[in-house]
Symmetry: C2
Subunit: 304 residues, 2 copies
């Protein structure tokens, strides 16, 4: 199966307690497309200025990501985001947001994109996510990732998107904020009622939980000696999750469990360096190694 | 195997967003002894005033907890603690601490306690934990639970205890504080170097992780519709963990995994009501049911 990913392409300026990166390639569509490309064919939809260097475009070519849906604005500046992480990496401050070319963006799906089986509406404004949904013909699976910003300023649009989605990715704070419930289980029940039959609650260093009608599946995060920069971990989780499903071509319970594991593992790589530096050039054996590490960490006793 | 539990016996005044309890039975030894009693014989060491009502004493009798090591001070007042939880139940404020009879407490182990195979030094001042260690003869397993307060004001004593312990229970913030490391894995390595060969990091609603030389085992928390009051969850975890090991009589990897599961499950019951209200009278079938729920939530796909 093929995946269409729509989201942001950004140049990020990031400070963490361990270092700083300026104008480093980022954005939800960037992370999600690269992570998904380890598993299945990916087509990206987005916008950038011609200040995005050739290295970025070469990266998509190297990962066989189809960029026909990428709009490159001549003389335009790429979206820029600045953020700062503290010792507690689960929290961050946004320092600045320059929309630039994003301000007048309307996603245009090339004809060859419109029959994709899987659509990932990565983290962008809900109105843009809706425009994509109006252009795809009969996806088998529509997934949405979102963030607190859209819950704050575009709630109606977000609800519209949710009605048309099968799968919602969000973190635990967002789950509580969007549902208005202070505890996780009632929050997830409320989210299901908004549309998505599957909800994945991402919890950063505490792992993630998948909720479907028939099951719940919890994975811990991969334990790392040093989380360097968590930016893009959630986007990479979503990309790898859907890539894993696309590769299998079916969405049974075990396929969903494997998707959770692959999402968790790809997200772990991202956090080890700034930008996509660690996400590029992962050896397949490294992915298998971390899957086995997670498996060992959750190996249940032979009997209770 | 038998377990000796030393810790506090308290009357707690607790406020949560959902309600308030005054002078409700609590304390680390109370929770730990009751939780452990579902699995193995327990002997408690502690102190209380004669204001502790007959109901509390009857409770220990009902659970077959040996109270020969319990000092009841005539005319004395039981230790009292007041705390307030907010919407984010992972954080709490201490409103008051009245040591009362605790101020001059020195644990005295009856002769019949001194050959116990398992010793739980539940959360009390490290100097009292040391006094207990000087009275037991040849325990097979010594476990310690601690808190941020002792890291702040009794660090040297805590280090002394740690050198003589096999197993350390603490939460993730305490792990970082005690080790001086901001990330979990280096923190746990530093804790191992302080003495305990096994470390259990408790993460509240995010579950717990056990670290030994040969393995790591992660369990999610039981998902509840309503966490009512988390007080005593960590103590109950420790009690049930050791109870489970005591019942098995050996400390192999699968026995440790089952201990993690039992700790997680007993902790989940405690949080559903104030005080020990839910911890008393749990039907064994309810314990099995929640173990199976956790097992289902972490069931790994048949193949990766």
């Amino acid at each position: 199966m093929e995946i269409v990913v729509v989201g942001s392409i950004a140049l990020d300026t990031i400070e963490t307690p361990w270092g700083k990166a300026e104008d480093a390639l980022g954005g939800s569509a960037t992370y999600a497309s690269i992570a998904a490309s380890y598993f299945a064919p990916v087509k990206i939809v987005g916008i950038c200025g011609d200040d995005l260097d050739e290295k970025a475009h070469q990266m998509w070519r190297d990962r066989d990501v189809d960029t026909k849906g990428l709009q490159i604005v001549k003389g335009g500046e790429t979206f820029r985001w600045g953020g700062r992480y503290h010792q507690d990496m689960n929290r961050r401050d946004t320092l600045f947001t320059h929309l630039n070319v994003f301000e007048h963006f309307h996603p245009q799906l090339p004809e060859s994109y419109r029959d994709a089986a899987i659509v990932l509406l990565a983290n962008i404004h809900p109105s843009l996510q809706l425009e994509v949904l109006d252009q795809v013909r009969a996806p088998k699976l529509v997934a949405i990732d979102t963030m607190n910003l859209w819950i704050d300023i575009a709630l109606d649009g977000l609800h519209e998107v949710l009605k048309r989605c099968d799968l919602l990715f969000l973190n635990d704070e967002e789950a509580k904020q969007l549902s208005g419930k202070s505890q996780l289980l009632p929050a997830v029940e409320a989210l299901h009622a908004m549309g998505p039959k599957w909800v994945v609650v991402k919890k950063g260093e505490h792992g993630a939980i998948l909720f479907t009608e028939s099951m719940r599946f919890s994975t811990p995060a991969v334990l790392l000696h040093q989380v360097y920069d968590p930016t893009g971990a959630g986007d990479s989780f979503a990309g790898a999750f859907l890539g894993s499903l696309a590769k299998e071509g079916e969405f049974g319970d075990d396929a969903l469990r494997r998707a959770m594991v692959h999402g968790t593992v790809l997200a772990s790589f991202v956090t080890e360096q700034f930008s996509v530096d660690r996400l590029l050039g992962i050896d397949p054996s490294e992915i298998v190694g971390r899957c086995e590490e997670l498996s060992a960490m959750t190996r249940w006793p032979e009997k209770l």
